[in-house]
């Protein structure tokens, strides 16, 4: 067994957990089973036992860490400031490196997603394009009717209808590499487009750029951006995550931008932790600190610079807001999206019961733990329906799809920034 990260990492991170249990009621998996091992406190105790050499790193622990959503609700609840994200990543890296859960099906999935598609943006887009053709040229119906899907492995078959609708155009066709506001810019920002987002919500990047322009920001949007690496990091592929982080840092002249804007909760949460990821890299450690200090979630940034008050939407809407876990718990960006939604005059914001609970998307969790993911998804959907809203707003592509699969077409899923952009545009037209 190779040297374990859990044993090598700064012990005070583990020690910081005083096993007070305050995180228990916030944890979706603990709430499902009521078992201590499925709780944050239990998981941290197991990690510490492994670090102390009192417990062997075996399948049971690996399965436990796969069951954990990585939703970080425990981090928000913890009075002691335990950095669960670091512990979670170290655990998953140990599990992967020591091949504790190695089956051929698992290897295939990981290879196709983590090692191939998400390392090569062009390939990802090509796959996206193929999916689009499949979905839009009638092939989908043909294939479904042909019964060919029955030949696929069960998991893959169940997933096929879940596959997101791919957009016709991707960000680089919608947003120019550099765009300036009509008057002299107040800020210069870089816009991160997000890989999944680029495929399924590319128009959101157009909306983000528009909102930034309205608020006096010059927007730089590099074509061919690298993936942020969050998927890799959460799934134990630390080396790949580091590679991607360096690549991203190298893509920008950090001194020349005021902020690097992310509009996807999950990406932002990881993007802000490059300094942690690269802390042992003498060449990059400092650059990563500068990088981290410049990465801003779009809502955070707009509230920081003070955004122009929007006019009304073309049609009044009742809206509820689902905070993405990694925006809410991971980045602590809680009030800003709400402030933005509330600023739209004819938008009525309805509070959502158990808003802070994960929707079950959690990266590729809905692929690996379909049962728990499904349960969280239907709970979330039922709370959303109870609000009788026309729209549920959320700021992460994973949540977007997970919720959309449960509530569409009765209820529409939108990003708060898309709604803001719509309000700005509507106002511009009526002016």
């Amino acid at each position: 067994m190779s040297k374990l990260r859990l044993a090598e990492m700064d012990y005070s991170v583990l020690q910081q957990c005083m096993h007070c249990g305050m995180c228990l009621p916030s944890c979706p998996t603990y709430n499902t089973t009521g078992l201590e091992r499925n709780s944050p406190r239990g998981r941290i105790a197991l990690m510490r036992s492994i670090a102390d050499g009192e417990l062997e790193l075996k399948e049971a622990f690996a399965e436990e860490m796969n069951y954990c959503l990585g939703c970080l609700a425990c981090t928000s609840a913890c009075p002691a400031g335990v950095e669960y994200a670091s512990l979670f990543e170290a655990s998953r890296a140990d599990i992967e490196e020591n091949r504790i859960l190695d089956t051929s099906e698992r290897r295939f999935w990981r290879w196709i997603t983590i090692r191939t598609l998400f390392l090569h943006p062009r390939l990802l887009r090509l796959t996206g394009r193929a999916l689009w053709i499949y979905q839009n040229l009638g092939l989908e119906k043909l294939v479904r009717a042909s019964g060919i899907l029955k030949l696929l492995p069960k998991k893959l078959r169940e997933l096929e209808p879940l596959a997101p609708r791919i957009r016709e155009s991707f960000t680089h066709e919608l947003v120019a590499e550099s765009e300036s506001p009509p008057e002299k810019p107040r800020y210069r920002v870089a816009l991160l487009t997000g890989c999944v987002q680029d495929l399924i919500l590319s128009e959101l990047n157009r909306d983000t750029a528009d909102v930034l322009l309205v608020n006096g920001c010059e927007v730089l949007t590099l074509p061919n951006q690298a993936c942020c690496g969050s998927l890799h990091s959460h799934n134990g592929e630390e080396e790949l995550a580091k590679q991607l982080a360096r690549k991203n840092i190298d893509s920008y002249d950090l001194e020349n931008v005021d902020a690097i804007i992310s509009n996807a909760g999950g990406c932002g949460s990881h993007l802000k932790r490059y300094a942690h990821l690269l802390s042992n890299d003498s060449e990059y450690a400092n650059k990563a600190k500068t990088w981290d200090s410049k990465v801003k979630d779009i809502h955070e940034w707009l509230c920081e610079i003070g955004f122009c008050p929007p006019g009304p939407l073309p049609v009044a809407k009742q809206v509820t807001y689902h905070p993405s876990c990694h925006l809410n718990h991971g980045q602590g960006v809680r009030q800003q999206p709400v402030e933005i939604l509330k600023a739209i005059p004819n938008l009525t914001l309805v509070p959502l019961t158990d808003a802070d609970t994960c929707c079950g998307s959690a990266g590729i969790y809905n692929l690996t733990q379909p049962e728990q993911a499904g349960q969280l998804q239907s709970q979330k959907a039922s709370h959303i329906r109870d609000t009788r809203s026309d729209i549920v707003a959320t700021a992460n592509p994973g949540c977007h799809l997970q919720i959309q699969n449960a509530v569409f077409p009765k209820i529409e899923v939108r990003h708060p920034i898309s709604l803001l952009a719509e309000a700005y545009r509507n106002c511009a037209i009526s002016d």
């Binding site: 012990y11 005070s12 020690q15 910081q16 005083m18 096993h19 007070c20 249990g21 305050m22 228990l24 009621p25 009521g34 078992l35 201590e36 091992r37 709780s39 406190r41 239990g42 105790a45 197991l46 036992s49 009192e54 417990l55 049971a60 622990f61 436990e64 009075p79 002691a80 400031g81």
Partner: protein, 459 residues
């Protein structure tokens, strides 16, 4: 050959009620107390008093120690299992059995989470007042076994004041019922009181009958800043002397305030020595009047500044400094030791000053906050358990604090219990024959010493 314990348990309970893998045992080996852990032999989840009784009979037959556990949030090591012992976790006995709005009582199983009780009764305009800081997760059984207190203790009392009856299973497997719904009852010894605060050493509580009170309709929240702890203490004395019993009378000291400001930015000046958080509740007219009186007293007591909340939002804001005190402190160093020494109210300022001197003397970081109204202080020591020298100084400081507490006529624990953490000091507090009496009671009820052995005192 006799079967090993996990297998023997399987003949009594269903498989989902028993855990015995390493990954499951490790995680029931701790509670909320720093630095204590012990891996048990098995963990069981009884679903009824009969299940409890079966397990206790088996344990008696096989001479196996049993430790009862609620949610494991205890702060004195009460639910740390014995070596090779069984953990009896009551979390699955979590039903509300009867809600009696005519007699204002509620009958619950011990695994019900404290806050759930309040959610259930508030719909009928009622309140279960004890509100320990852990109420979102602690079980009512744990609260009764530890006689837990909360922020409302001064006006409403502690858990003991609300327990009207209980069902308990004794170490010999017998099930007994103590108490009833009558406000007046003088038949026989008041045995239920023996089990309240017994820390799981005398029996396993399997049902609890609780008293409820009408929920107060109005509340006022005030905050006062002081340049000296003595002035704050004098203000508290004057409030009580004016025959006002606020439901909350909390304080944080200067060091705590500095940490809170770093963490939560409550917008308070970090150079004042004491912050008092005061709340009064009841009928709107009475609350209005009391709030005005309190403001007058504060103004005459050298308060540097006072604030009164105009609405719920402002009230929450004022409460931030006190509410986030623990969280602000717990993140500073890896090891947080939360104590709960308690002294008569008129000695509190002296005790707080002593804590500050002790911190200096032993070169430690110790913050103080807590319940000014009932003399219950939470000196919180911030340290690192890997630093042997520092931990030695921690222990010396604790010795000093306990000694001073007893000298002032106080108690070594106001609400967390003795458990393992304060066991060494109990004898200092029970100096006469009372210490022997404690042991005799334990021996009478648990002759084999199998129920949570080694907690509170050694037999």
């Amino acid at each position: 050959m006799v079967a090993p314990i996990p297998q023997a348990l399987e003949s009594l309970l269903s498989p989902e009620q028993i855990l015995s893998s390493a990954e499951d045992l490790i995680v029931y080996g701790y509670d909320g107390t720093a630095g204590l852990k012990q891996r048990p032999l098995a963990v069981v989840f009884p679903e009824s008093a009969e299940d409890v009784s079966k397990v206790l009979r088996l344990a008696a037959e096989r001479d196996i120690p049993v430790t009862t556990r609620g949610s494991g949030t205890g702060l004195s090591g009460g639910s740390i299992p014995s070596e090779n012992g069984i953990v009896l976790c009551l979390q699955r006995m979590n039903k509300i059995l009867e809600f009696d709005t005519a007699n204002l009582t509620i009958l619950v199983e011990p695994g019900v989470v404290t806050e759930t009780i309040n959610q259930a009764v508030s719909k009928e305009g009622l309140l279960y007042p004890p509100d320990p800081g852990s109420m979102k997760i602690s079980t009512i059984g744990g609260n009764v076994a530890n006689n837990s207190g909360g922020l409302r203790g001064l006006k409403y009392g502690v858990t003991r004041d609300y327990v009207m009856g209980m069902q308990a299973v004794l170490p010999n497997g017998e099930t007994i019922w103590l108490g009833n719904k009558c406000v007046k009852d003088v038949a026989g010894y008041n045995l239920k009181d023996l089990f309240i605060g017994s820390e799981g050493t005398l029996g396993v509580i399997t049902q609890i009958l609780l008293k409820l009170v009408p929920r107060p309709v109005a509340r006022r929240t005030m905050l006062a800043l002081f340049d000296s702890m003595e002035d704050a203490a004098a203000a508290v004395s004057k409030i009580i002397a004016a025959k006002i019993i606020p439901c909350t009378l909390e304080f944080v000291d200067r060091f705590t305030l500095q940490c809170v400001e770093d963490f939560a930015q409550a917008g308070l000046p970090t150079d004042c020595e004491a912050v008092l958080l005061i709340e009064t509740d009841g009928h709107p007219a009475q609350v209005e009047e009391e709030a005005e009186q309190i403001q007058n007293i504060l103004a005459q007591s050298n308060a540097r500044e006072t604030k009164t909340a105009k609405n719920e939002e402002e009230a929450n804001q004022l409460a931030t400094a006190r509410r986030s005190a623990f969280a602000a402190l717990a993140r500073i160093r890896p090891t947080t030791i939360l104590e709960d020494v308690t002294v008569p109210r008129d000695k509190l300022a002296e005790m707080i000053r002593f804590v500050q001197k002790t911190a200096e003397k032993h070169d430690l970081k110790i913050a103080s906050f807590g319940h000014f109204g009932d003399g219950n202080l939470h000196p919180t020591i911030l340290a690192d358990e890997r630093d042997a020298d520092e931990m030695k100084r921690v222990h010396q400081a604790l010795e000093d604090l306990f000694e001073k507490t007893l000298e002032l006529g106080g108690t070594i624990t106001g609400e967390h219990g003795v458990g393992l953490a304060k066991k060494a000091h109990l004898h200092d507090q029970y100096q006469d024959y009372s210490y022997t009496l404690l042991k005799q009671i334990k021996k009478t009820l648990d002759p084999q010493n199998l129920l949570n052995p080694g907690k509170t005192f050694d037999v």
